[in-house]
Symmetry: C2
Subunit: 413 residues, 2 copies
C-alpha cells in the first residue's frame, strides 16, 4: 500500500464512500436468502470449446474511433478499452488493431519468410521451421505512434479508450532476430534492415541494424496462443518499445540493406514536424508516458470519499521507476505506488488512494523511467516540436477534470 | 541460452534438423513470388468487436477428458491444451474448467457477498462495493487437485492435455481477503473460514485463517478482464498455490468459524489414502511439479537433430529455482534454462536444447522450488502414500518416451 495513505484512512474513507462498511451488517438480512443460482443446474461443459466472456460483460469491446472517423475502413484502427482493463495483460480479443489495407488472410502451411539482401547466406523459412526454432517469451507493451493523436488542439475524446486506446500489452513469443541473422551472416555494409508485410498494402519499414540485433523478435505467439489474424498471423516483427507500425505484420520478407528505403511510411508518414519547418524522421521509440484510467473520461464518482486512482505507465526506453499524481492541475504532486512486476518496456500499473473532498479537481499522472527521463508536459513538447495536424509520438501529461457532480472529463486545452 | 548447449552446437544441429539452414537459399526462388495476400484487400475492422482466433488455429481447444469420461457432464471438467500453450499466460478461452453442478449464471447487479460468523461486524457487499475497493493483480498458476489423476496404474493419457491439462496460469485481480476481514474484525476464536459458492452444488470449503490472512484474494479479474462465467463470474475465492477446488467460484458467503466444516469435499473428496489405511485431510497445497510439454505425447520428431525441449514447472510453496531434465530414463540429469520472470506460485517455463541422436529416449523433468523441495518420483510418493483409485495431489516425475520413429508416448508404468 502507498505509504502516503495510512490503512485507517481508507477504512474511514470506505465508511464514507460505501466501499464496504456502509453496505452494512447482514444481521438484518439473516437468514441469508438463497439465490436462484443455488437451486438450479448450471450449463454443462461442451466436448470442446474456446470460451468467451459472459453476456454481462458484452459492453467491453475494442472499437473504431468515434472521434476521427475514416471514410473507409481498410486503413483503419480499433482501440483497446483501457478503462475496463484489469492488470497489465490485454486480452487478445480486446487488443487494438491498426491496418493499412485490412486484415490479411494467410495459410501458415503456405507462408514463407525470406531473409536476404546484404547477407552471406539468404534463407527461407516455413512456419514449421520458425516454430521449431528455439524461442523466448517476453512481456512488452505495444503503442501506435498516433496514440493520443487528436486531442492536443481540441479535446474531442470522451473516454480513455478514445484518447489512449492505441495501446496494449501482451506476453510475446518468438525467435530473437539476432539468432536468425547470425545464421544468415550480415555483411559489414548491412546497416539497416527492411521488413515487408504480406498484406494488401505491402507495409514496409526500415530499422537500424543496432535495434534488430539488440532485442527485436520474430513473433508468432501472443498471450499464450498463436497470433490473431489482425495481429499479423502467422508471424510479425516486434521491436520492444518502438512504435507499433515498425512491428510489420504478416511478415514475408526481411532484407538487410545499407540505407533506409525512405518509403512513404518513413517520410510522409510517422515523421514529426519541427518548429524550424523541417521534419524529424525515424523517431521510432515510444518515450515514457502514463495515463490515469480510473477515474477517467465518461466515469462518474459516487460522492466524496476514498477512491483508488489507477492507471498505466510505460516507456520504450526501459522500466518505470516512479509515477507522480496531481489532483490540483499540477500545483502539487504525490507519489503513486507501482505494482510489480515492473518489467522492461512493459505496461506498469500504478495505484493511489485518493480522498476526494467533493470539490472540483484536475487529475494527471507523470511517469519517470529507468533512464531518468520524466514524462513532459504539453508545453515542454510544444517548445521543441510543431504541434500541428495529427501529432505523432505525443507523450504529454494528460489531465482529467472531476466536476462537483462527480463527472470526469477530458481536460486537455 | 543454456550454458550446456553452445551456440555453434545449435547451428550445426539446425542444419541437420531443418530449423533454418537446410531450408536453403532463396537464390533459386528469386525473384520472390508475390503471395495472393499482397494483391487483395483484407478484411475491414468492424465498428466494435471481441476478437477470436483465426480459423487456422481452431484445433486448439480445451476439451473434456477422453480418458475418464463422466456419465453426465454437470460435475465435470475440461482440460487446457498445454501442448499448444506459448509463454506462461493461459488464454481465458482455453483455461481448464471444473464444475460440481455446471456453470452458474449470476447477474452481477443482483449478486451479494456476505462475510459473517465469528466477526465483530458482519458485512454485505455488492459487486460495485468490491470493485470500488482497492485491489491487487498477481500472476499465479491454478491446478486441480486431481491433475494427473488417472495414469499412475495404467498410462491411458495420450497427450499432455489429457495427463496434465487441469493446470493453467493467469494474472488475477481482486481484493486481499485480509483487508476485508480487517474491516469485519475476526474474533479470537475464529480459526477457519468457510467459503460457499452460489452454484447448484453450493460448493463449500473450509480454509485455515492463516492462509486466508496470508495471501488469499477475492478475485473478479483474470488476464485483463472480468472473470469468465465458468471461472466463477462475478467473483471467486483464490488461494495462491492451493488446489483449485478451494478457490470457490460464484462466491456468495464467507463465514469465519472455529473448526472446519468436515463437509464431503473435505472427507470423502480431496483427501489422500495413506499406507496405514487412514486418510489425510486438508492437504491443499499443490507441491512442486513439472512436465515436459514439447516434445510430449502424440507429437512426432522429424528425424535426428537439435530440438528445444520445453515445459512448465510450478510450486504452491514458492518460486521455481531449478529444473533438471533426463533423456535416459533418469540415469543422468542436465540442468534446463529457466525463463523469467520466475514468479511466486506461478507457471515457469523451462527450455533446453537437446540433440536427439535418433535412438530411443526417455525424457522427464524434475523441478526444485525456493524451499529446497525436489519433485519426487512415483516410487518416492508410493513409499509414503497409498496409490489406489484416483490419486489426488500427485506431483510425481512424469516421463515421455521417444521411439526411433520419432513418436512420443506416455511412459508411466
Amino acid at each position: 500500500m502507498p505509504a502516503s495513505t495510512p490503512r485507517r484512512g481508507f477504512l474511514k474513507g470506505a465508511a464514507l464512500a460505501g466501499a464496504g462498511l456502509m453496505t452494512g451488517s447482514v444481521a438484518k438480512a439473516a437468514p441469508l436468502p438463497i439465490p436462484e443460482s443455488n437451486t438450479v443446474m448450471g450449463d454443462p461443459i461442451p466436448a470442446e470449446s474456446y470460451g468467451l466472456p459472459t453476456e454481462f460483460e458484452k459492453h467491453v469491446k475494442r472499437r473504431r474511433s468515434d472521434v476521427f472517423k475514416n471514410k473507409q475502413n481498410f486503413s483503419d484502427w480499433s482501440m483497446t478499452p483501457l478503462q475496463h482493463q484489469i492488470g497489465i495483460v490485454t486480452p487478445n480479443g480486446l487488443f487494438f488493431e491498426r491496418h493499412h489495407n485490412g486484415v490479411a488472410k494467410i495459410d501458415p502451411d503456405k507462408h514463407r519468410l525470406v531473409i536476404h539482401g546484404l547477407v552471406d547466406r539468404p534463407l527461407e523459412f516455413s512456419m514449421d521451421d520458425i516454430v521449431r526454432y528455439p524461442s523466448v517469451s517476453r512481456f512488452h507493451f505495444m503503442e501506435c505512434s498516433g496514440n493520443t493523436l487528436t486531442d492536443w488542439r481540441e479535446p474531442k475524446s470522451v473516454t480513455v479508450q478514445q484518447s489512449h486506446g492505441l495501446l496494449a500489452c501482451a506476453q510475446w513469443t518468438g525467435v530473437p532476430l539476432s539468432w536468425l541473422l547470425a545464421e544468415a551472416g550480415v555483411k559489414p555494409e548491412g546497416k539497416w534492415v527492411m521488413f515487408e508485410g504480406g498484406d494488401g498494402s505491402g507495409h514496409l519499414r526500415s530499422i537500424p541494424i543496432e535495434k534488430v540485433m539488440d532485442d527485436a523478435l520474430l513473433v508468432y505467439g501472443q498471450n499464450g496462443e498463436r497470433l490473431r489474424a489482425e495481429q499479423g498471423y502467422p508471424i510479425r516483427a516486434f521491436f520492444p518499445g518502438w512504435e507499433g507500425n515498425t512491428c510489420v505484420k504478416w511478415l514475408r520478407r526481411i532484407k538487410v540493406v545499407a540505407e533506409p528505403d525512405q518509403i512513404r511510411g518513413e517520410t510522409a508518414r510517422y515523421s514529426d514536424p519541427m518548429p524550424n519547418g523541417k521534419w524529424r524522421q525515424f523517431s521510432m521509440v515510444m518515450e515514457c508516458k502514463s495515463v490515469i484510467t480510473s477515474p477517467s473520461g465518461g466515469m462518474s464518482l459516487k460522492g466524496p470519499g476514498l477512491y483508488e486512482v489507477q492507471g498505466f505507465a510505460w516507456s520504450g526506453n526501459g522500466k518505470i521507476t516512479n509515477v507522480d499524481l496531481t489532483f490540483d492541475g499540477g500545483r502539487t504532486w504525490r507519489e503513486a505506488a507501482i505494482e510489480g512486476p515492473a518489467l522492461d518496456k512493459c505496461l506498469t500499473r500504478f495505484r493511489y488512494r485518493w480522498n476526494w473532498d467533493g470539490g472540483p479537481a484536475k487529475l494527471a499522472s507523470r511517469a519517470m523511467d529507468s533512464t531518468g527521463y520524466v514524462q513532459p508536459t504539453v508545453e515542454d513538447i510544444a517548445r521543441v516540436r510543431e504541434i500541428s495536424g495529427f501529432v505523432q509520438h505525443h507523450n504529454g501529461i494528460f489531465p482529467w477534470t472531476v466536476a462537483q457532480s462527480g463527472e470526469v472529463s477530458n481536460a486537455i486545452a
